[in-house]
Subunit: 409 residues, 2 copies
């Protein structure tokens, strides 16, 4: 949580953190600046101090809306730095950072750097800055970074934003269900009013339209996969596929707030018209594991144990899992869930090599058991996004029926 | 142009270039991989050799669609590297790059690195790689980079993609015009069918909807600004503003291909119902300069001279310009145009400190003169995207009328 930042900075032995880049589509900056619109800037937070936001002069008002102490980057006179360096853009940029660091008494100690930028620029700027300020240790964190650890638990404002995305998501899912059930079927496939077969590409187009209409983004695309593709967890579905009755459709939708904000993550599995026995049996296996896990998860417990438990439950039903066979392409082949926030996949993780990740109060995680049989042309996954409330209760942030069969005419 | 890459690599003294990151919303990677969908990977191109694309195993088919020689990143056994480094994700990543470089005989020489990544990760990975391979010079280019120079001219495939975006853009502009002219006006403002005033926020919502319907993205937003806001070039327009008759509306729209591809950039200025004399006069000044510049621009000529020429023409009309007064907030306050491609602003530039930028054959640039008088509540800008054809002709990539007045009921 944001309120843990000072403690986390101490744990990571960081005296300061620097976040750079735009406030849009750049989770580290957006984490601090919220919904303000800023095409570029820098934010520096020293341990036990409030952040300072460095802004470009045309974005003065937006920067002020952040509520942080602000500093105009124009005060560093880039035009003069460019002259001093004979037009060398890189050297002028390094000099500007050197001045910023010097002004804020950050010429020694450890500073963590975060934010999205061109890799070459980042490497050149921070290598150059290190030469200018040899006592300042510039730390790049991969994997288990301070920010990912902070983001792993959400404050109430963040939860409400994820909840609002959940409302949009389930509303669009409802529109898709209504759209599909209002079509006719001819010879076992859905057809549109003009008698042409309905294709998955058209369904996806409508999903994007309804998401846009709700003012949200769909940066990672949508999985709407039928039959064999539903049996392959990473297939997003073939635009040319027909909507055949009696086949599993995996509909996994994960839109985000406009500008690259908070995600929601949601999956239902549908069968149009009817479900053949083997599909119904597969669905019931997944549903029972979903319900069992939902009843068992407890605040503050270790996540990986629920992955183990899910494997155990599926194995009891007779399915192969990645626990019994790490290479299996059939049965249960992925992890139980993941944290959701400004990234679609964040902490905590439900995997055996993240043994310390817990369902801490404030976590927002997906629970998404699934079974896949690509050779038999079927797959089932059920997924909700769950808030681990401060009072220890588990709360699904957007309710939607779990039903398998969508009736058609 | 892509075909200039080997020559440019020689000019920049680079033996190889490395592009990293996803193929979506990452122009350096997309420049090479086109429309394939890849969540992450690396591309290495040695001088005078074809690129090699390193892919993640689940994206084998997408990688193959790039047409490049491909290499499975799984062959580098990250799982084993993680064990060797006792779970250190950063060290394992550095070791993998070291192996890749060694395999492809890139342990010495100069390699330029590009692509979007977390700044800390980039700094940590490439600093670490440099320690492992001390004879390999890792170059980060800011400003006038090899890739921006290559991208400054487009091949015919790129031009056709920008042209297709122009078609979508002008089609949506037409829908907006039809929508506005189909509303009634009451007491000098447009009202919707239920008698409520129409607000700019609603117009923008429709723009986003029509863009989404066309399957494109609008990552940078749209400028739809009326009155005083039209007089401020960087104002995107206030969602709560009414659509008053007789006021200038600057409508600047710059959508991109889905997944972060090629942009189009287009502006018209509209007056609903009628244009007051001072607005008509301002419009005619901008129109005449637009037409004059369009008639004067020549293939291979220097861009900055047209910025000077535009200032001269506006000054002859009696307007202040940034040439006569660099601090002016009135009159002509920005540059004449810019290159358009995978970035909304790229090379060539029409500014006095880019004296070498030319209208080389294959350039795609905007021409967008404008006049702004925020205190008088008006602004006018006209913008088209122009292809400098290999035969030396200038071609506007999407035609649309330049008319000022939109009639209303």
């Amino acid at each position: 949580m944001k309120s843990d930042l000072d403690q986390l900075m101490q744990d990571h032995n960081l005296d300061a953190i620097l976040i750079t880049g735009p406030a849009q589509h750049n989770p580290p900056m957006r984490y601090f600046t919220g919904t303000i619109h800023m095409t570029g800037g820098d934010l520096i937070k020293k341990r036990s101090a409030d952040p300072i936001l460095f802004y470009n002069p045309m974005e003065r008002d937006e920067a002020a809306n952040s509520g942080f102490e602000t500093k105009n980057l124009a005060d560093y006179r880039f035009d003069e730095l460019i002259k001093i360096t004979n037009g060398n853009f890189l050297e002028a940029t390094i000099l500007r950072y050197q001045k910023m660091m010097t002004d804020y008494d950050l010429t020694s100690g450890n500073i963590g750097v975060y934010g999205k930028m061109d890799v070459g620029s980042a490497y050149a700027i921070f290598s150059g800055l290190k030469e200018k300020l040899p006592n300042l240790e510039i730390i790049g964190q991969l994997g288990d970074s301070l920010l990912l650890q902070a983001m792993a638990t959400k404050d109430s404002d963040e939860v409400e934003r994820i909840r609002a995305m959940g409302k949009v998501t389930t509303s669009v899912v409802g529109k898709v269900a209504d759209f599909l059930t209002s079509q006719r079927s001819v010879n076992g496939v859905l057809v549109t009013s003009n008698g042409e077969p309905l294709l998955i590409g058209e369904v996806k187009r409508k999903i994007n339209l309804w998401l846009a209409e709700s003012g949200v983004e769909n940066p990672e695309g949508t999985i709407f996969a039928i039959g064999h593709d539903a049996g392959v967890p990473h297939s997003s579905g073939n635009a040319e596929d027909l909507l055949s009755l009696g086949q599993t459709i995996i509909f996994d939708i994960f839109p985000a707030e406009a500008g690259g904000g908070y995600f929601y993550d949601f999956t239902r599995t549908w069968c149009l018209g009817y479900a053949p026995d083997e599909v119904m049996a597969l669905y019931e296996d997944v549903l029972s594991v979903y319900q069992q896990i939902m009843s068992e998860i407890e605040v503050s417990s270790l996540c990986y144990q629920y992955q183990d438990r899910t494997c155990e439950l599926f194995e009891e039903q007779g399915h192969p899992t990645i626990k019994s066979n790490p290479q299996t392409q059939e049965g249960y082949v992925h992890s139980l869930g993941h944290g959701v926030g400004l990234y679609i996949h964040e902490y905590p993780r439900f995997i055996s090599n993240a043994k310390e990740d817990r369902l801490a109060p404030g976590s927002v995680v997906t629970i998404e058991p699934g079974l896949y049989y690509p050779e038999q042309g079927m797959g089932v996954r059920l997924e909700d996004t769950v808030w681990v409330r401060p009072d220890g209760e588990m709360e699904i942030l957007a309710d939607y029926p779990l039903d398998l069969v969508l009736p058609v005419k």
